[in-house]
Amino acid sequence: MSATVLSIAHARKAFGGLVAVNDVSFDVGEGELIGLIGPNGSGKTTMLNLISGALRPTSGEIRLAGIRISGLAPEKVARIGIARTFQLVRVLPSMTAIENVMAGAVFARNRLWGSPARDFAGGLLARVGLTGREGSPVAAMTYIDQKRVELARALAADPRLLLLDEWLAGLNPSELLIGIDLIRDISREGRTIIMVEHVMDAIRTLCSRCVVMNSGVKIADGAAAAVLADPDVIRAYLGDDDA
């Protein structure tokens, strides 16, 4: 494995008596595309929120390229180099597609402004397949196009680590293929990605490595094919009888 981009050590998040993330540790290497999977309520999104700064861990430590980011506000974490998409797509409804993407380029690591920001955002819109749609109001766009805008906005920050929270959810079969290709291309460019996903086909096709969570605990971590065949993982998803 090459240089470590993200390292999570004994991360724990408790909401009162409910422990959503319990003593989870794993590292992510430069250029890796990791699938973070697990049944509903297993703590995947909470884990993502801990990494992006939306939530503060109760204990444990998270480092990005050696810099401690656990406990920092999301805007600080974004500036250090983490960008994300949201489980339920979040675009800026009053703005055009290109303004949405520029939002990612102006304040985080890139700090572009004026025409360089606009040109850069235009290039990213083309990158996600929205050439010529720069001036469209995002509120009038279809679901997949809004997801594309959101992805372009995350890429606009030139993040060291990209977090995709069920970015493929809700797409129809043909859109899904387009989406998988897009993520694969972005990963091939050397971008480090963690994706939370329920679409197992996508995990199998895309991810070299998977981290599996169940009830807040990490239950498996390894090559995707091996992890998905692990009896513990199958039991977590399907119950005892099918293992």
Binding site: G53, E75, A78, R84, V91, L92, G104, R109, W113
Partner: protein
Amino acid sequence: MMSLRRDELAVAGSGIAAVALLSLLPLLSDGFVLSFGVNLMLYAAMCTAWALFSGPTRLVSLASAAFFGVGTYSVALGLDSLPFPALIAIAAFVSAALAGLVGAATLRLSGVYFVIFTLGLAELIRQVVAWSQSRFAHKMGLYVFTDFTERDLYWMLLALTTLVFGVGWLINRSRLGFALRIIGDDETVARHVGIATARAKIVLFMTSGAFIGVAGAIVAPRYAYIEPQAAFNPMISFLVVIMALLGGTRRLWGPLVGVVPFTIVMEFITARFPNHSSVVIGIAFLAIVYLLPEGITGFIEGMRDRIRRRAAARTGIEAPEAIEEKAA
């Protein structure tokens, strides 16, 4: 984006021409029209300054009276010892500091709490000023005697309004302006793209508050006798909100569109039915919120978009061209 576009130059040019024309008003007339002009300029400055903050963030501030009163009292308290420009600077500084304190304490709160807090703050300051005057100075008010005429006040307020527009225009072109639009749309997204949302809102609230404080300082000589009930009158806060909402807060010049008709109506009402003005303000407020939630400018822009879309749907060609062809 950073260099001036042709349409921006056109707007700037017509803005300068408008200011030049308006500055001639005191030479053409004095008495009623000039006095009306002072009212108009006062609310033009305050409403535009209010909308600098409340427009993009959609947080309704009812603290205008607090800033206005702080500005008025800066002049009343310091007139004997300091020159007027220094008092203006003090008014700006103290109002900005007050806004900074309020912002740091409340801007993490969501909408409705912020509204109530700002209303309460203005009332609290009024009570504290009234109490300390009767306790320590043993009188209710302060005299403000200056050599300023209505003309001077009008010109100063015109300069202030121009300055507010200039600053607003610069903010809109800046990262801060873009950050505020993003915050207004979705604060969670704003934070995750790296915007320090609390700081951005506080900076803007301080700017807005400073301008309203300066407006209060400039008109202080008009009152001659200043007491807390007038300087911190909550009606000021409500009028600022109503006029700005009537015009619409999406554009920098939106509030101005509301200030002109409302000032005329208020002038008429206070002359004819002096005891019923609060009833009229209440009805106007309800009517605006129900009938024109986006203000006059928002309504017109919405209509224009709808007509364009309908024209585009009918003819199947690009909307703006369709409109132009019909017009020609």
